[in-house]
Every structure is written in structure tokens, then in C-alpha cells.
Amino acid sequence: MSGHHDHDHHHDHDHSELTETQLRVRALETVLTEKGYVDPAALDLLIETYETKVGPRNGARVVAKAWADPAYRARLFKDATPAIAELGYAGRQGEHIVALENTAAQHNMVVCTLCSCYPWPVLGLPPVWYKSAPYRSRAVSDPRGVLKDFGVTLPADTKIRVWDSTAEIRYLVIPMRPAGTDGWSEEKLADLVTRDSMIGTGLAKSP
């Protein structure tokens, strides 16, 4: 789980093991294509989907709607999976979603200590730090210390609740709505919702 020291292949200049990895991945793709196990067009579509289509903007729309629409908010906290599907977000790594409400009394934060479980349909693929050993090791034992790494300091009387995603339940944090946003449209509100605020390592932006 070391960091990424590799470069894009267009300007890859060292003959590291990563270059070997690159060659090996290419070789395997050729073998699998020749055997008829994979269709390269399907691979391209998978990459395009997760690189350009599915991302935290989806989750931000869910949060903004929960802030702006009390009936939606109630449905979301009662059973998040169908409420999120109302906006068209569903499927792989989001089959069973639970929404967690951040309040002044309790701050929720999500981790997967055993691998990298993450709600793909609403947040996309996880960032490197979420999958990294520093986050996975300390989120459960020192959550305030981890929050400090993100520049977040919570009031001492705010309780912290850490959710370790050990099963197929995926957790989406609904951050607190910032003050001074009364009457804002959902679209404008969504711009305040950061990816980290939906993991619990950040807060929503203030206007």
C-alpha cells in the first residue's frame, strides 16, 4: 500500500518495477482478449464510467436534496438505498447504503480497515489516502488525530462515531448544512458539499 511514485506512461522515464507492471498488465490484457475472455470495448467503457461519470458530484446532489427537501431527508434516513436510487444512483458497491447524519452532538466518519469498501455509486472510486495504511490504521484508534491531518478540529463535546465498513453495507455521511444558506437551490447547495464531508474527514464548505 505504498504511495504512487509512478508517472503517466507518456513520460515514464525509469525502468522501475512499475514499468514491469505496466508491461505485464498489457501482456495479460492481450492474452485475455485473444482468448475471448474480455472485450476491450467493455474495458474502455468501465474505465470511462468510473473516471468521468461516477463521482462525488452524485453524492453531493443527494446531500443537497436532503438539506433542501424534508420529505426526501426523511426517506433517506429511513432507507437510503431506494432514496438514492430515486436520483438514479445505484448498483455496484452501493447495493446497501446507509446515510449517517452529522450533528453538533455527533460526527460520523467512515473507514474500511480491512480493504477499501466505499460507496461507489455516490462517491466514485476512493482516493488513495482512503485506501492507504495511515488512514486505515488510525481512523479507528485515533479519529481526532486523523481529523487533524485533514485540518479539522471538532468541539471537545462533539462525540465521534467511526463506522468500519466490514460488510457490504456502504455508509454515506450527510454533513451539517452550513449556516447562511437559507433558501438556496439544491444546485447551489451541492457546490458546498465536498467529497471528504461525505466520508466524515471534512465539513461542508461555508458560503
Binding site: P127, V140, S141, D164, A167
Partner: protein, 221 residues
Amino acid sequence: MNGGQDLGGMHGFGPVVAEPNEPVFHAEWERRAFALTLAMGMPGGWNIDMSRFARENRPPGEYLAMSYYQIWFAALESMMKERGLVADDEIDAGHSLHPPKPVKRVLSPDDVLKVLHRGGPTERETNTRPAFKSGDRVRARTINPPTHTRLPRYVRGHVGTIERVIGCHVFPDSNATGAGENPQWLYTVRFDGRELWGPDGDPSATVSVDAWEPYLERAEK
């Protein structure tokens, strides 16, 4: 398994550092390794728990030194070799040298979005009743299976509270070995920071895991 993947509570990895711009992928091979892994799930015939075990089943030093998609790719290679879908000489040659094995289905471009949208729900019908209810005190069992499990070491032996009865879900410990889905009741179990970490724990923090019934026993206190 008590492998390099079970990281909760370890020390020494340093601060969490977010990278600037956070690209989804960092090299072309990461894109291809990611897509190959997703696409091969269908013809490969393995399940998500087998994939997870294939990723964690390596010496911890090796696991921690590899990047995320290197681990994915290594697991993909090993699962395919185990099933005779590809051989080392073929990867070395960069070409198919042996006839393909018949596979059930191949992921077509037309099916990609449908398959992603359907996902793989793990909740199952049952006529059993859950042994625990919300508010019950339970102890995470002390178990050390060398095979796949989703009970992290840092909660084993500790007492927590059932917060929610989630439903009956595929049991990874069985599913990963090919022993079948063996669905079991799944619970959210919350532990106090001090229960898990003693005086070094944060008294204002609680931690929950989602734990299947075989991981739990009733606690008196």
C-alpha cells in the same frame, strides 16, 4: 486471515496525506488493471470474497509494499492461474499459447452499465430468527482463521452493543472458500473507544463494525 490487510489500530504509518488533484488513476496500467478485474469477474466465476482473499493472501511485508492496483493485479493473476484460465508462459509471451477454457459469460459493452447498475446485493431470504436484538451486549469472539474473515483483530474479545439488526447476508468466511453463501444475520455492533484501546482510547469516540452472527456471543456485562 491475520494478514497485512488487517490494519486497524496499527502504529507507525505516519499522518494521512491527501495528494493534490487526486487523479482517479495514476497510470494507464492502473486503468487497465481495474477494468480487467471488473470484467473478469463474470467469466472468472469467482465472488467478491474470493477476490478479497486473493488480495490479502500474501506476506504482510509484500502487501504493505505494493500499491493498491498492484495488489488488485496480482490477485487477478493468481485467481486466473488457479482456475487454469491463463498460464505463466502466456503472460511472459504476451500471447495466448493454449486453447481458451470455456467460460459461462463474457462482459459485452452493451451489458456494462446494466451489470454495474444491478451490482451484487448480498441480502438473502431466511426463515431463521436473529439471535440478538438492538441493545444486546455481545462479545466479538476470539477467532483466528487462516482463511478469509471480516472480523478485524482489534475488536476480537471485546464487548460492544448491538445497534442495529441489518438483515441476513452472505457470509464471507464461507463464500471465500467456495463453501457457499451460508447467509447469516448481520449486525452493527458499537464499541466504546476505551473498551477497544484502554486508557489510550478517546473516551468521546465509539467505533462500530458490521459483524455476522457467528462472530458474536452473548456478553453478561
